[in-house]
Subunit: 245 residues, 2 copies
Amino acid sequence: MTELLQSGEFERRLRQIGEERYHSRHPFHQRLHEGKLNKGQVQAWVLNRFYYQRSIPLKDAGLMSRAEDPAFRREWINRIIDHDGPAGGEGGIERWLILAEGVGLDRGYVQSLSGLLPATRFAVDAYVRFVRERSLLEAVASSLTELFAPDLHKTRIAALLENYDFANDRTLAYFKKRLDQAPRDVRFGLNYVMSEARTRDQQEAALAAVRFKTDVLWAQLDALYFAYVEPGFIPPGAFVPDDRR
Amino acid sequence: MTELLQSGEFERRLRQIGEERYHSRHPFHQRLHEGKLNKGQVQAWVLNRFYYQRSIPLKDAGLMSRAEDPAFRREWINRIIDHDGPAGGEGGIERWLILAEGVGLDRGYVQSLSGLLPATRFAVDAYVRFVRERSLLEAVASSLTELFAPDLHKTRIAALLENYDFANDRTLAYFKKRLDQAPRDVRFGLNYVMSEARTRDQQEAALAAVRFKTDVLWAQLDALYFAYVEPGFIPPGAFVPDDRR
């Protein structure tokens, strides 16, 4: 590789990945936010995205299992507590299940993971594995898509409230909460990556990790679009909305 | 394998492993508790055991990274918080460092891990890897040596107070705290193993996991005894006490 990027340029390239590749640009999300998805399509999104949500603590525990600095772990552990909740009936996974019930899905069916698109599993599992196996720097870098999440969540909250009956403070609590949590998390992650990427190779590896993560997010929406929007080929065994039965 | 063990018999066999194989029986610990170790030998023990202590959160995060039930994770996460502390300057690792300073070791030297016996690393790393790679049942079972720890810790606190100048409430805080923490942890772990080992093969795997863990603990003391007691062959690069220089 060539010379080390100045920190301003390195951060600019990190953020540019969001502009070019973040899943806010995906046609499935655009339809969602324009109110153009029907109930079954929204259900398919919530159902499949649940697999991502429930896998996040496994991902973060895998990352922590290789973080040798207690101070780092004391910071990162908050992500697990945010998702699992400090007690039953709390936390991000629970808030996602409330959204699932709000769009008319059965909680037990969602938790059973039985209606998932295989491509959802492949993409999410690839992310969990990436974080477990790659360098800690790459693992942390792969979380930096959170740089781009608050804008998406703000847009989403407004768009869902405007366009869908199911949307209210209770069903959208997951996204509202993330508006507070994501900036705190990403500040720590960004500082870590900026200071730990000390060679150009490491900077490039961090950039590649963010691109990898955008692929993980994008691929989930491709699969949803293909199965539930157009051409609408639902794979054997995956969730079938009422209007497609 | 033959038929399932009744739960009483299964628990009896789990506990019997402690009686036969727990490191409370090791000659190094017996000398420690009889006040027969000199300062350098105590330092070697504290220094090497630090590697075990600082690896425990990595082990527990690795276990959590494969625990799919949020309720399980909400329980297990307390072990990480116990060791890392809710904030800097707290927690079991910090309490161990206070013990290290109390026996006259430099905190930075201990944290550098540079004076460890290689056998300490091999044994502890084998434990971390076991927990990451084996079934969740075996991983949890390997923590059940905590069934035997409170008795050892009680004996140790009394014996150290009686025999060593460095021993006081502050330096022994690690062991005192574990008297409260270990019973809570082990109750959860024991219930998990008793209910999740549903076949004789699983029961035998759980018993083997506890035996494996006793090997991990025993091997650390063998290495200490060999290097610092008898014959006293310190491996190249390992900690050399002042009286051996």
